[in-house]
Structures are given as C-alpha cells and as structure tokens.
Point group: D2
C-alpha cells in the first residue's frame, strides 16, 4: 500500500500520546518500548513527520490518553485489567512530569488538542470525530504510541467511521518486534488505506 | 406518564450545567431564564431533587457544557449560529465566576464529572455513555438547563442509546413558557419514559 | 437564517420516511399530519425539492424508520411509550402498502438507502454518518416527517456530529401548528445553520 | 485471565458472521481459515458454546457482516482495500448460499439479529449497542470469525463502550497461527477482560 496525494485542507496528523512517560528518558513506559523505538528511529521520525506536516500546511491534532488522577476507575464496574494496571502505575499522572508533553511535540498555535481518551481509541468517548468534521478532514495519518494498542485502535475506529487511514510503521513503537509485526503486517492491511515509512510519507507530503 | 421504581444502583441523576452563569444572580444567562425559573421554583426544586437523590443512594453525574476559552470555534468550519453567539458572550468562561459551579450544586465525593460538551447533548463527543455503563446505569433523570436545548437533546440521545429517560418539568427552565411547553407537552412525550414534577419524583425516590 | 451556497459534491438531501403510511391518502399516520401537510403544501414542496436537488447533482439519501415486524420490541426492557404505540399500530409494517415508498419518492439509481432507525434520529444505530463521510458530505438538508420528531432529532444529531444543517419549514409536517412552531421557531434556531422555505431553497440550489 | 460468573440476564453471546462462506465446505472464505479452524476444532467448539449458552439462559445475538449486493461501495470515496477485495469476491452475497446462515447456527426464536456491519466492528454503524442496552447486557462473549478482524474489532469497540469482554481463543479462526497469536496473546490482553478456552467457558457457564 502506497501513499498518494494528501490534500492539506482535508488531511490531519493524529499524534497520539506525545507524553514524557512514553517518549522521554525516565518516562514510566519508555523502558517498555525503548528497544523498538531506538531500532526504528522513533524520535527522529516523529520530528521529521511533524516538520513535514507543518510545512505542508496540514493541521496537527494531539490525541492524548487520560492523565491519571486520584480516584480514577475506583467506582468503575468493568475497567479492563490493562486499565487497572496503568492506573496502579499512575501513568501520565496529572501534574507530573510524565504527564507533560515531550518538549519537541508540545502543541503549537493552531493545533487542536482533543479530549483525553480512557481506553485505546482516540475516538471513543472524545470529540475527535466532530473536531475532524469541523476542520473538513477526510484523511488521518496516525502516529505515536503504542503501535498495537492506541495507534491500531484509533486507526480501526477511523476506518469504521469513514476516514482514509495512513499508518507509519517506523513512527510508532511497541513492546516487541512481534507486536510491531502484528500491527503492520497482520492487522493493519485489514483496515488501513496506506501503510508507509516515514521517508515515503515525507516524500509524498513534499510532492507538489 | 408517571414515575415508577428507581433502583438506586441502576439510576443516575444527570445534572446538566450547574454553572453560576445559568443559576446565579449576576450570571450571564440567568436574565434570559429568570422569569420561568422563578415561576417554577427552579432553585428549590433542584435542591430538593439533589437531596432526595443522595438520600436514596443514586449517583450524581455532572454534565457540563464547554467552558469558553480563547480560540474556541475560531478554526471551525461549521459552528452553529447559536454556538457562535455563546462564544461571543464567553458563556461559562474558564477561570471566571460564571464558569464555576453554583455553590449549592458543586460536585461531592463520589459524583462523576463528565467531559464537557460542545453543543446541546451531554452524550455527544463526551464519555457520558461509557461512564454510565461503567456504573451499571439503565435509567437517567435529567435536570438543569435549558429545557428545550441541553435537557431535551441529552434526553433524546439517552433515549436513542437505550436508556430509560425521566424529565422533571419544574426542575429546568427556558426563555419562555412556550419553550417549556414545547419541551414537556409537545416533544418530551415522543422520546421520554416519564415526565414528572419534582414532588412526584421526590415521592417516588422516597418510596421503600 | 438564510441559505448560502450548497456545493453539490459536499451536500446531501436527507429524505426521512417517505412511506405511504406518512404521505399517502389511506396511510396510517396521514390523518394525524394531513391538516398541516395540506396547509404548507407538503407533497408539492417535497416534489419540488427532490427535482431541484437532482437537477443540481446533489445526492439523495433515504432515511427510513424501522418497518414494523412481528416480535418487534417484545423483549426490549425500555422501549419508549411512543415506540410501543407505533408498534401496536404496526406502522410501516414490512410487506404492507404502508411500509412501501410513496411512488413519487422511491429511490432512484445512485440514491443511498440508509439502514432503518428504531427511534427518531436517522443517525442513531444506523450507517448514516459513515455513508455521509464515504460520499464526502459536509451539509445536510433534512426533509420529510415529522417536523418535531424525526426531522428535529436527525437535525440535532447532525449538528452535534459536525454537519451543516438546513431545515425546510414547509417540506415537513406535524400534528399541530404549535408543533411546527416548536420545531422551526423555538428549537431549530438552537442547532440548525439555516431554516428556509422550499422556494428559498430551490432558488439557492438553482443559483450558478 | 479467567472467566468468573456470567449472570444470564446480563450476558450476551455475540456470534459474528455465522455464514456458509465462512464456516462451510465450499464457502468462499473457508479455504483461507480452514487450517486453523480444523486445528482448534472450531465447528465443534462453536456448537458446544451455543448449546451451553442456550442452556444457561443467555441470549444469542447474531452479528452479521454486510451481505454483498450489486452496487456496493461503487460510490464510496474511501472504502478500504480490504473491503474492495471482499466486494470483488462478492463475499456473503445476498441471495447466495454463501450468504445464508450455516445450518447449525441459524437464529432461533428469541435470538436477536443485529444490523449488518460494513467493516470489522459489529458495533460500528449498527444497532448492536442499543440492542444490548435494551436487553440489559453488561457482558459480551464474542465468538465467530475472523479472530484478528471482526472478533478483535468488535471486542475492542465493546471494551471502549464499557462492556465486559470475553474472547474464546478456540471458538474463532484466522488465516495463520501468527494471526491467532496476535489476537489472543498480543492484542487481546490489552482490551479484553477474559480470554478463555471453550472448555473453560462451558465449565463457567455450567457452574451453579
């Protein structure tokens, strides 16, 4: 699957979870994804895409996970084991350094910060779909973390909702090579419209 | 339509927009609804329902409208005229007194504060539906403001989503008697399961 | 509120419930709306809009209510009183004349027939939103029946979802003048972008 | 993750796509999943679960994919490559044997047949969520096909919507062992509440 034309006024970059806990040395989840992240050159690729996207006039949507707060999930009947684990670790805790934006990826003027999501999909229980419509978006490029959870789930929802979905296989990471392969070789082709490398995407965005 | 049994562990009170701008002397929207509010005894009725609901062990969900912030709607392609008017008035502005909870209705421990909605429905673009499921809720009692906008629209969405919906015709207000009549006599019966007075509701909630 | 430009490739006509039971002499619901329908010239206006829309190259989406079938709602815990009444009357019964399209408004090649809705909103529990996205639609013109139930509720959902919404006040009907006034004078202006007459709409669609 | 108590009046079996094209010798997709299906004992396991579920008084929801019809997707702007491939193959074609229910799994009286879905999630663009609410369902057991597409995507949506999700790793199949592993070892644990074998599930359902 190759990328084709990305009309800037109809395309959005969805940058999922650019938190220190995910992307910075010392972050709570960084150790879990560091191996894959360094192997694919994650940070440099994220920087390259954000620069290319801004140069092309494509709008950036920040799609953040819930920042943990005291009391979270306590009265919930059916939080998932995975959610309970993240709550125990106080991942992305509100007011903590880990819950702040990685300094290279903090929102700039004109970026849209979507409501925080509780699970894996940036669309579920948030205003992402309506905000995309209000900005006339038909295509989404989904980058950030983690390849087989939030990126895949946000991509699956986007596809079901009628958006064109591009995954970038070296602008995300996961806990293992196998999880990366599950995201991009096994599952991605069943719902995405394009699965590309950062280099391919940057080239497509720079095309006249 | 009469209320019947409200099992506490399956019922939620949805209190929409308990802001000073709506409910307090000096609030930006108060002058527009004051006539009807005083006529139905709105503040006393809201206090009576909240007290009865808490006594019955029914959980309170606060369902707040977007607190205006600088930049809101500026890049939107299709904000409604009504939304643009509210943005110009900076209704419920973040950090302002008008955007604070009315002191009698601020959330208490155990209450759930839902994500802010951009339009009229407390369900649209928020986590209300998922949070109701996580608390095993099958019935919603919808009170607050305004009868023919946020209350009606939240009730309509609830009904479409499969919840049992109770409207309380003197625990809300609107700009005119005619708008109240539209909400409770003309439209309410087409989607709600019960339309009651505060007195009828309090009696039903106090039944053994 | 006046209509402005309707780009054909971004606009859809949502024609709600063009069934014989609603629109034809002998239909089950026709007697309830006949007074208003004849007063506003409903049938002629619907014909004029459909013709103008097709001439302009705007796509028609048929948005149908559930055709009643034996067993409907029987196991539901929380059908609304209004739904139960319609089920008892077997409105739009599958296989019956009343559940067939009015002959002037049957789908033509290229029209999209959306999934049937159970309540009042053509968006709730159907594929309408995804189908609009798949056809690049940003604006919806909502006509058909009934002004203060399915038309209003479909319009409210469209607005919350981020679409531009046009109501046509003489291309719908209701049980009373008061219900028409509730739909177009009291509630419509709080969520719609344009509320027009058939004549105004046809003129706007014919503009170069 | 182990199953615990499944209260019959709060639990649903979601049986996804019990079509001949998937489950019968001669079906269009059967050759693609046959290897895994025979290895896990798919057909026998599906029969055992359906029998145990019915014996326990748990309601069956049939969650069917769109039966292909002429014209499908032709006017869509952004069908996925995967959807286009299925349309070219006319999978589950309406009126064909392949689009009929496998004879062992046809709906029985009291079963609920949900609206057909266009993509992978049984919730997207259908009435599944509302129908589950109308039947007071809090837990879903998701079986059928394919493990890493419709089953996973329906499970992910269910989890985001607030349901308790059980996957059954030998009551589904996929094109490869690797895809099964992606579904149950890599992705499932990030959103599901229980991942069990047929034997474990049947035992749990038979417990007093």
């Amino acid at each position: 699957m190759t990328p084709d034309h990305y009309a800037p006024e109809r395309t959005a970059l969805l940058f999922v979870d650019p938190y220190n806990d995910f992307l910075s040395e010392g972050g709570k989840v960084w150790p879990r994804i560091r191996g894959v992240a360094e192997q694919v050159g994650l940070l440099d690729n994220l920087r390259a895409i954000v620069a290319a996207v801004r140069a092309a006039g494509i709008r950036v949507f920040i799609v953040p996970h819930r920042r943990w707060e005291p009391g979270d999930l306590e009265s919930w009947q059916r939080a998932t084991p995975y959610q309970r684990m993240a709550a125990r670790a106080q991942t992305f805790a509100k007011g903590s350094w880990g819950g702040e934006w990685h300094p290279d990826f903090a929102p700039k003027t004109g970026d849209i910060v979507v409501k925080e999501h509780w699970g894996s999909s940036g669309f579920a229980n948030t205003d992402l779909d309506a905000l995309l419509k209000q900005h006339d978006i038909a295509r989404v490029i989904v980058i950030g973390l983690i390849a087989n959870t939030c990126i895949e789930c946000t991509g699956r929802f986007a596809s079901e909702l009628g958006y064109h979905v591009t995954l970038v296989k070296d602008a995300t990471a996961a806990a293992s090579d196998e999880a990366m392969r599950a995201a991009h070789e096994i599952n991605g082709p069943t719902f995405a419209h394009a699965i590309v490398t950062t280099q391919e995407l940057v080239t497509a965005l720079s095309a006249p």
